[in-house]
Amino acid sequence: MGSSLPSKEQSQFRQLVKFYETKQHKKAQKTADGILKKFPNHGETLAMKGLVLNSVNKKEEAYELVKLGLKNDLKSHVCWHVYGLLYRSDRLYVDASRAYLQALRIDPENVQILRDLALLQIQTRHFEGFISTRRTLLTLKPGQKNNWIAFALANHVLKNYAEAVKIIDTYSATIVPGDDRESVYERGELQLYKNSILEENGDHDAALKHLERIKDIVVDRSAFLEAQARNLLALERNKEAEEIALELLERNMENSVYHEQYHQAVLSDENVAEEHQPRRKIELCDELSKSNPKMLLPKRMPLDLLDQGSKEDFVKRLDSYVRWFLERGVPALSVDLKSLYRAEWKVLAIEKLFTGFENSLKESGALPAVDNDTHSPVKSGNSSPAVVFWVMLFLAQHYDRIGDLDGALKYINRAIEHTPTVIEAFQVKAKILKHCGNLTEAAECADAARKMDLADRYLNTKCTKYNLRCNKVEEAEANVALFTRDGETRGVQALYDMQCMWFECEIGDAYIRMKKPGLALKNLKAVERHFDDFIEDQFDFHTYCLRKETMRSYVNLLLVEDEIRSSKYFTRAAKAAIRLHIDLHDNPQQKDGSAEQAAALANLSVAERKKAQSKLRKSQAKKAAAEELKKKDNGKADGKKGKGGGDGWMETDPDGSELLKGIKDHMVEAARLLRELEKYAPRDVETHELAFEVAIRRNKYLQALRAVNRAAAVQPRSSASVNLVVRLRLDVEDNEEKTSSALPEVLEVVSTCGTHKIVGDRSLSGYVNEIMTDSAQSSDTRLGCGMALLRIAGNENERSRAMEVLQDLSGASFKTCRQLASSLSSFAKTEEVESFKEAVKEKYPQCTVPL
């Protein structure tokens, strides 16, 4: 380092590096300037100075200096390394690793650079590169334990299981075991890691033998037993598996995985035929329940397992199960029973049981007596008055869940009248009102609940959400700020710092409804940025976990990170952003927010409007390009101010107008987000719905075709798929005007692989009608088919038939109705949309939001 300098400056240079590493940026800069006074062209010093400036957020200067340094000393590995670090700090991993590799060409055995490169390679999952870097590091420094473990990991992720195990063994043989707790723990963890590799390799026998050998050093007993159970089950050593599963159940009887393992072991051992399995499982639960009467899960599981043939048994068990909750006043009962609502007959049984409770309480002040059987010894005498309340609260939630909102409101009002001091009741009422479309009162009710316990963050959060649902942004921000840390950080920035994504999603939706695209985009973008951060955060663990030898957690982390964008927050924000981009593409006047323009456009005919819109789009694109140019001119000045001022991301460009201006083509941006969704949410039919919308606007007919086929593969009978098939036929296959400019080859593919494959010989309406008849149970599909029929309808007669389907809203939730209204307005006639909205208002008279 700094070798071309005289010895005095050489030592100064070494100091410079030290200052940088200890984050003493001012001193580092001073030292660098000192050297540069004498040797203004010294490449490595220039590069180091650049790196220092980068740390104090002077990006532009940093890049200039580093590049200049490199130009002056192309043969220096330091310059290349610094160049890589600079890219790395901007998360440009590919560029960074290219620079590192260049540095290594000059100094192939530089451990520091090799380590940095390895970090990048595991970060980007470039496993081939990772293993070779790791091999080099191990050869260079075999004395360091991290190098062994990391090399084992490299083999593991490449599925060289045998090799990975061998490396761990070789390494373990060399260490002298310490007796202190920490080193025992570390050894146990490493062995459990090795064991997980054996298991992953399918070598269950070896895994079990290994477990036997390490049983005395493993601290995490649950993990140990779980591994034993899994491996024994895989080998069908059922008797032994049963024993281990029972041991696990004794440790924790409320873990459903343990129960499942136990059942699997016993059932395979006894070779129980498929149709008798539920019965046997129930028996096993009962046995456990007898010896552990306080445990809930063994009592709860049979309720899921029983079929309609055992209705009486079901009712009896349900009765004694729910009494436990009612007598203790556990508000979570409704959530606990949710899975039972999948079976219609169970829903009826629940309703009958609870209305029976209600009547009995009314008449005799007590729950009905139970035969004194094994399940529940019930005391005689009057029930606590609170039981009446909990029964009414449950019934309110029950009717809400099955869509009987009048019944739900009746019960919740009676419950509140009975006991007006229970906060949960107000929460339940807020939820019911929300389902009624009465978002205003729902928010008021959530606020009433919040005020009853100002120290409860959950209530505050719910209230904030309900306020946002009816666009009360100011109230929401004020409320949510009560629980963010105070000080100079504003609420929104504090929430951004805490990566509070539910809030950003909700407020983003609110701004979309309020036609504030900049603010909406800002918040949705914030969510996307959090995920970039989550991925970047891995860097800390690549070094930390190897040092701490917590390999099992580390491998889990890598797996989680691989899929992290499939999280509901990411997909939700991405979907909302794509919809916003589509809207901004279709209605570009929104971008300037000028209402007059919108009003003027509304008065034009469709053709005229389209013309005007495309003109507006073009002029906006020009404007954006000009701004871009201007920005570049001001680049240097901006760079100096930049983020250095300490403003958070939400505080710079707080209304998102810059962000919005920066997007030149909304369809390109939408397509970028879609690529993420297609990768991480391919099972979500909405992904393909949006893909179609974007493809059709970009005249990408093959992509549109692909979207339709994917949607049909995921959910062939859904409203989304049916409508996509119909639209592909009408908007692409049969629309010669639109597709006239497309390549004939493309159209050829669309017509051979298109809707004909799905629709077959039937007419398009025949296809829709068939699905509608088949899915009479689902109101969503029925209404979706109605919408599809309206798209197809060629004459008034067909249109009114389709409208008839659409106006039968039985079973449709308010949310579904709202979505339908919005979809309809994109293609239906105004009077049709209006009459649909009338039907919705009739079904949801309390609705307080515009549809």
């Binding site: 609170a386 001091t421 009853m452």
Partner: protein, 171 residues
């Protein structure tokens, strides 16, 4: 009155600015009089023990609020501003436990050493309450006509009182 039942197990709680609205909801359900914000702000600042909430199975079902009043002649009394239990939870000794709490204040609270009387106003129609207090040694002292301003019919009330021996400073 129905036969006296076993006393239900309750837990006492205190009021603060975080849960004040619960007390308001309770009182709104219990009393025809609507108390103003000042009344509740005083409740928060009341001396320790002068406001007690009663929780039955974690539900707030009752409360008592008392005030210390000194008379011109140097004697003083405890005045019960509110004492009530939600209707479905009555007949379980919860009100009695709240009143017992008032007696305990009298016996041990430093402010109460010279108190010679407990007093309260009861709506003339509230026979249930009148019986409750009479059972516990209170007497009707006075009928006050037109005591309530609005929303209560008839607007009259009784003043109830129970004399007690002041425990004095030293004891």
């Amino acid at each position: 009155m129905s036969p006296r039942q076993e006393r239900a197990a309750i837990e006492f709680g205190t009021v603060n600015e975080k849960n004040l609205v619960q007390l308001q909801r309770l009182n709104t359900a219990l009393f025809p009089v609507k108390y103003n914000d000042k009344f509740y702000q005083e409740a928060i600042r009341a001396p320790d023990g002068f406001v007690r909430l009663a929780y039955f199975q974690t539900i707030l079902v009752g409360a008592v609020m008392v005030r210390f009043e000194s008379n011109a002649n140097g004697s003083s009394r405890l005045y019960i501003m509110t004492l009530g239990v939600l209707a479905p939870y009555r007949e379980r000794g919860i009100g009695a436990q709240l009143l017992d709490h008032v007696f305990e204040l009298l016996a041990s609270h430093p402010l109460c050493s010279n108190v010679s009387e407990i007093a309260l106003h009861v709506h003339t129609e509230n026979t249930e309450a009148i019986a409750f207090y009479k059972n516990r040694g209170f007497e009707v002292v006075e009928l006050i006509e037109k005591y309530y301003k609005r929303g209560v019919d008839p607007p009259d009330c009784y003043l109830l009182s129970k004399k007690v021996e002041p425990r004095g400073n030293g004891s």
